[in-house]
Symmetry: C2
Amino acid sequence: MNCSSQEVRRILEQHDRIVLTAHVSPDGDAIGSLLAMQEWLEGLGKEVVVAVDDDIDDKFFFLPLAEQIRRPDQVQTDASWLTVVLDATGMDRIGAADALAKGKVLNIDHHISNLHFADWEYVRTDCAATGEILTELLADWQAEFSPSMANALYMAIATDCGFFKFSNTTGHTLRMAALLVEAGAQPNVVSEHLEARSLAKLQALSEVLRHIELFGEGQVACLSFTPELLQYTGEHTGSYIDYIRTIQGVDVAFTVKYVGPEETRVSLRSKRADVNAVASVFGGGGHVRAAGCTVAAPLEEAKKMIVKELLKVK
Amino acid sequence: MNCSSQEVRRILEQHDRIVLTAHVSPDGDAIGSLLAMQEWLEGLGKEVVVAVDDDIDDKFFFLPLAEQIRRPDQVQTDASWLTVVLDATGMDRIGAADALAKGKVLNIDHHISNLHFADWEYVRTDCAATGEILTELLADWQAEFSPSMANALYMAIATDCGFFKFSNTTGHTLRMAALLVEAGAQPNVVSEHLEARSLAKLQALSEVLRHIELFGEGQVACLSFTPELLQYTGEHTGSYIDYIRTIQGVDVAFTVKYVGPEETRVSLRSKRADVNAVASVFGGGGHVRAAGCTVAAPLEEAKKMIVKELLKVK
């Protein structure tokens, strides 16, 4: 059942030992929400442990508490512990951290696909980020925001709305961010750390940008992550699509990535066209403007199949 | 003299014919401020002309009024016209538009270097953007924001604070942006148009990123715009420095650009070091974290001279 703000506060206050967790592949919203919550709860005198079943990107280590995040197998809990699941839609999203939830579970989340799985929940799909929800809750509880809490929550919000560029940015999103800057958040420090890239990553970007192909009179842009290109980029290729998505005149951007000789992973983004429909043809799916599928064909052939389908929906 | 908000309103209401202008090389803040002001004043029944002594980047043309901006020589004024100078510190910043100022001049600006030149002025150095000032003024006047005014002002604010990433982003900056989104501004539409790049620009970026050099154990990053590289990039190379400034471990980023066989233009950015001091050695200057100079030496030699000075201040 969906709690009120005051009910959430009461649940947290009634537990002395709390484990905080979030989804695997934790992003800025997950990490920022965890660390702000940890700091506030520790200030109340609670015993708090933050556990995430994944590596923590070192770009988050400018937040002092980030290095203390543990793996679930390093943590012991019992049924007296409250488990707070932040920014995750279900227990299947938190990996091995689900084993720590021996007692009651509170879920705070903003995803529309939330599975409503917890004993108590506070799900706000009108918010762009879990950090936006937490900022409102903490303000409602008249909590004091330290500068480090404010930085963590500013990162949380900014990450999930693309620094106030995405369509999920509302007046409320910006007002919560305003409150954080007034509490000591430093947008330049947060952005500096989020944007830091290694020289190797920039050199990989240079190589990737040499492989852009346009189709359909420039309305479709494609990047092919061949085994050769993957040697530069490594396996994490998800962010490159943004470079081709923003090319003037391009409506649909897609990437094809080598998985095996007869297996190609496809990601699609669009400004207008329904790419969910295209992904569905190949047994994939997603949203109208962001979808993906896996094609049982070699990379070059898969690319041609996708272009053909895309030109049908144009 | 610095007017009050209500005095600014009265000055605008007392004039029936108004020419709006802004600095040359108009950026998002200048253009967004001009177009929002134009729309509001036309709504009051004024005769309004917007004149800028420069080309208007076509990325601004998603704002309906942007294509109507004229060159000063296409405009006729007389002493009865009010000239409103937006986002400019002095008459020397508006190029040939100064010839249109035959009557009174009102200046609305946020730059600390403002020359206090106008008959009336409203200078707010606490604001990150002229668009932030105008949003506050229009809200104070209970003006109605149309969605296109809101988009123009959101662009104005977001441009000058790097989409809420720069240290000039305050709670007030974000609150004004919130008000605009609630009035119909579309952050995704604004950002999509500001970020649109041609394929040629991305290919130029790819080439530029192949030329990064690091010095001083990776704390200094450099890009050299040789005549060969300038064939890819064209003369507008100002934005590339952001890519090397954000490399992990880099404190100072600088670019050297070929001007002539014995003339090299240098731009410096830093996170901590005082680059103004380094630029001063060569007769240049600027701010602690952003400065520039021109060195009377060939590019390669100028680069070595700058590195040598930089390693002294490290």
